[in-house]
Amino acid sequence: MNEPGTPLGKDLVGLESLSAEQILTILNTAEPFKEISERRIKKVPVLRGNTIVNLFFEASTRTRVSFEFAEKRLSADTVNIASSGSSVVKGENLVDTARNLEAMRIDMVVIRHGSSGAAKFLAERIPSNVINAGDGSHEHPTQALLDMLTIRDHFGKIEGLRVCLVGDILHSRVARSNIFGLLALGAEVAVCGPKTLLPLGIAELGVTVFSRIEEAIQWADVLNVLRLQLERMEAGFLPSLREYNQVWGVSRAKIEQAPKDLLVLHPGPMNRGVEIDSDVADGPHAMILQQVTNGVAVRMAVLYLLSGGAPDTAEAAKGGAEV
């Protein structure tokens, strides 16, 4: 999947296969793109004439809208295909959907799919650039990139920081991408949650495991609080949401015990009163809206780099120059 001449190769399937240098290239490229969203006219011609399909087999508002803003602010032509209202629900399989899109001569596909490996599967079968917007429990690379950008904005660095992912690690693509990316950049990473929601062998990835949130709060510079899918309780992973909130939920009272400046991230959408209490979500520690803002910049950077843009011309590109 590596195409010579582009800093990331053809696709962005995950962070596991990226080097620290490649991840930093994306974060650094995102910096100049942040400013575009602050302008009155939020549009530069970087991807003019490019066609991008946002292919969402799973419901998503935040990620899809974030990608769409990123694409439109780079002047790409975009088409959204959601699982409802498309041939996807008529039983057409992933390969056929992709090949049909390809036959309409597109340039990039942003895919979200419920099965781990779906983005790679697609990337291996079509010549367009493929960007993973979340595949099953595998990876969600742009989410981790925006998380890392937010952390770097606050601390000025990633290396040496202690980041703890809290909650349902077993089912979380956000957790995996964060673990791979943060470890590559030299952060210390921990996970914290009920053991029913921690995958076997997680420690072998090089992360610390905390069973109680209080320990994690003593240790961490950053808590990245994951969304708890409410159906996990029905599937028997947890006794009740109330109990989850009491034991693993991030509350003001718990984070006030932190010995140092503690940043709280959440990829959204939040279940207030379950994994995160409102007094934290709306409080000074939370960077949740900053994450959303950074999401657009990071996705612009990824689109730009995959389209063949050079990292060192990003500043010029946003000024309006052709690339």
């Binding site: 596991e16 992933l94 390969v95 099965s115 781990s116 599967f121 099953g136 995996r176 076997l200 990835l205």
Partner: protein
Amino acid sequence: MSGPLLIRGGRVIDPSQSIDAVQDVLVKDGVIAEVGKGIDPPKRAREIDAGGLVVTPGLIDVHVHLREPGGEHKETIATGARAAVAGGFTAVCAMPNTDPVVDDPAGVGFVLAQGLAAGAARVYPMGAISVGQEGKQLAAIGEMYEAGAVGITDDGNPVMDSGLMRKALEYAQAFDIPVADHPEDLGLSGAGVMNEGLVATKLGLHGKPNAAEDVHIVRDLLLAELTEGHIHLQHVSTAYGVEAIRQAKARGVRVTAEASPHHLILTDERVEGFDTDAKMNPPLRSLEDREAVREGLSDRTLDVFATDHAPHHYDEKEQAFADAPNGIIGLETALGLGLTYVVGEGLIDLPTLIHRMSIGPAQAFGLPGGTLAVGSPGDVTIIDPERAWTVDRDSFLSKSRNTPFHGWELKGRAVYTIVGGVAVWEAGA
């Protein structure tokens, strides 16, 4: 009935009679007529010069899915029986998890008839343990036996109700056929699609723990001990499972068991990259498990080398990993893999491998054959142990292509497959 067949000067390996010597084998009237040195050719006999070749009892694969009826786009009994002989197998046991399930004598008769019509490997039908493989009510075990079923199994939808399993083990004793189980506790497997462990964690795929298999292996062993029935454990893939079977055998429990080529050769690392041709059930496990399965095959804790040949159409496998069906095909690669990796790496010697592919499976399922004893079925496999070849799935006689071994360089393959005295398959030069 064709004329006599004289196989001259091969290294005859017949573990059932502890023969390993350069001899001739004469097949006449469909049965083994003579094994010895310097046999005079009868009139009009066909002669095969087996100099430099290995002559063995016809190989038997007790675990294949031929998909007919209901899955003819994946495989038919005819294509499966031809794939079998191309891989050196003269007989196969067809699993009953078809559509409809083979759970009555009519279904057994259909499989037998299609097998005979194919004119390739012998096809021995297996019947279901329970009606529709639904795990509720015993299928017509006695009638299926009378119609020709050689064993019963709910492979594909394993029996969760231990009480029903007990009854099957008791009831089948009247017919002296094995109850074959795919040991898996489906509750423990949950949403798992591969081995639970580091690789699954990295890939974000749900894992099946070894315990899902081990719990049912131990259950089955306890029930076999309780009932004095014969349990046959299919495709054992875990270290603990192998050890549990070893101990049960030492206690005298009537248990036979299988090892599959992929569990002897691959580990769950093969799943990296989400290759659906590395997806099967039980899944590829850890290196430790693989070594234990090898040890089990070596010391005869595992009596049988069986493929679990599981054809799937290419577009069924061409999906995201979790969405693709379980299983790989094995009939045309098993012998080459066994010779190259199991024997070639010194795990067991050639006669031991032949044992696990001939008299081992024949005894486990009470099948005729698996031996070159005079009067036995005239089923013989002639192997060129030095023949180098490359696995090319596009040249398979099977209808399906789902193998993780495509492109592998192997050494050794069947060059003649003889069923009832007739060379039904020849490799050519």
